[in-house]
Symmetry: C2
């Protein structure tokens, strides 16, 4: 879980004596170096889609960490500068992540169609039914189009001055992190755990507001409770989206808490609380699955609104939608088990 970054540590002495500013700067500089390296890899990848994809993944990985850590440890930084960078990193992560997200979603839906057709275990029929095959083709068309657009948008973004400003900011971060003058000298041992604790508290509050008792009761049928609900008003979120939103928020807070812990681990040069790190990782994975399944379910529902599709196609998309909403429910159950077993981690 914890990544070691060689070389760039700037701690002025043994871990015990390091200042909060030093530790934070060390972590951020290492991530900025990663960011710049991924950016170079991406530029060099040329037409190799796999290499470009991997470089983009690493780029997003360090961008998320920089933005997250700047958020958790905000009081230690020069916020005029870092708030701006944070906003821009979120924009960049989003733009660069969409192509991958569409590809992953198509793979998920295609896999589900095969599973639902019993094609995996060589069962009856073996292949896809007409409906499942057509549903697959429809999803493929829609998501490939979305993916292509996302690819163009990402390439375009990489050419903008907005992007170059982010790259310049990362280069600055790699050499010197703009810190708050007052916070620069505070002892890391006192200040960092305190801010991580605040992140923990925000996470705990949000998680405890979730319907965990319900989610812990398997087959509660909650996630599909609006599977056939009337379409929402054009300006309102769909009923399922409203239900999912607090879980997505907890997902983001788990991630912030993980990155906060990485800074503490970096300071101590070890995993301070290995079981906490494992639990945060597990909780985050469950909520990633929750988000992925929710988005896949929404795609199946959206595809079913395509005009003039065959009833067999629509039927397969209905089964697929319900299947992915049950994945949503399963992910909530998994998260609830991790969270409750941990007490408040």
């Amino acid at each position: 879980m914890t990544t070691r970054y060689p070389a760039v540590r700037t701690a002025t002495g043994p871990a015990g004596a390091a200042t909060a500013g030093d530790v934070l700067a060390g972590y951020l500089q290492a991530q900025a170096v990663e960011f710049l390296r991924s950016l170079r890899l991406h530029g060099e990848s040329g037409a190799d889609a796999d290499e470009a994809g991997e470089a983009a993944r690493l780029l997003r990985r360090s961008a998320r960490r920089i933005a997250g850590v700047l958020y958790v440890y905000r009081p230690l930084t020069d916020t005029d500068w870092t708030d701006q960078l944070r906003t821009e990193l979120v924009w960049l992560t989003d733009v660069l992540g969409r192509e991958h997200a569409y590809a992953a979603r198509l793979a998920r839906l295609r896999g589900a169609l095969h599973r639902l057709s019993g094609a995996e275990d060589g069962g009856a029929g073996g292949g896809l039914t007409v409906g499942a095959a057509r549903a697959g083709a429809l999803l493929e068309r829609r998501l490939t189009l979305a993916r292509t657009r996302a690819h163009s948008a990402a390439l375009q973004a990489l050419g903008t001055s907005r992007f170059h400003a982010v790259a310049d900011a990362a280069a600055l971060l790699a050499s010197e992190v703009p810190l708050d003058p007052g916070a620069r000298g505070l002892p890391a041992r006192e200040v960092l755990p305190h801010l991580a604790e605040q992140a923990q508290r925000r996470l705990a509050e949000a998680a405890e507001a979730l319907p965990l008792a319900l989610a812990g009761n398997p087959y509660n049928a909650e996630a599909l409770a609006h599977g056939l609900a009337a379409a929402p008003a054009p300006d309102g979120p769909p009923a399922e989206g409203r239900q999912d939103a607090p879980w997505h928020q907890v997902r983001r807070l788990v991630r912030l808490r993980r990155y906060a812990q990485e800074v503490l681990d970096e300071h101590e040069q070890t995993e301070v609380e290995p079981s906490l790190s494992v639990r945060l990782l597990g909780a985050g994975q469950a909520l990633d699955r929750h988000r992925d399944a929710a988005e896949a379910a929404a795609d199946a529902a959206a595809a079913a609104r395509t005009p003039r599709i065959a009833p067999a196609t629509a039927y397969a998309l209905g089964v697929l939608h319900a299947d992915q909403r049950h994945e949503v429910e399963a992910a909530r159950f998994a998260f609830g088990r991790i969270w409750l077993r941990a007490g408040t981690p």
Copy 2:
């Protein structure tokens, strides 16, 4: 769970001294009296559908018990006569049960459509979507037609000489149970538990052949694994039916075991093993739910094959099919918990 039948007990002394034949005859006579009373109620119910339905329910209830107990305690009876009666009772229970089954299935599917539309909790939209409403109307047409046909078939069956022969046999049973001469004098305390134990063994063997480890793992997605499987060969069962069959068989064996226990309880004038009775009842209810949901899911799939339906209707039926298959999975999970918690009950 255990029903007490007044009056008709023929035990020749204190429970300890009763013969197996006496106890069995006492139970069967009481059920035959119930059967004849329900039959009279049914004949008198005239146009009152509720009364007729309740009478038919009681009739099936005693018919199932007579047939089940004749099966478990078969060696104690005059099998030439009782095997024949058993076959006829199974036929009658089936003919008389269909109307109710279609009505219950429609109610289940209608309830699920409302639940899936979020209409229960006054959620977004409130009412049904066009697709859900049309799917509901289609299912209503199909199942009402099936129900009407079943009603006619039941009325017709009640007028046949085949039915009158069953009624005559029940009347004979109410006055004198044809027992095996050799078994007549055996002590109840030894013989009855032994035969109940055999029923238990058949149940345990069948239950242990079920994929209980998988079913005990919530959200295993097994029940929907063939949700979009290619249609089976015309002479083969559908893939989901093949998967469900062993569970249906265990459902029947649980029922036999319950009736076997009722005879033992009747003998002792108390529930011999109250916790066993509770567990058998719970296990039976879980498997009833399994059967009901499996049949409802099959109906939704069959309705979706109606020519020229709108895509929105087909989509709603797909969601409904998947929802009911998840009910199937939930019922397996519930059964597994009851069964494994009980050890071998």
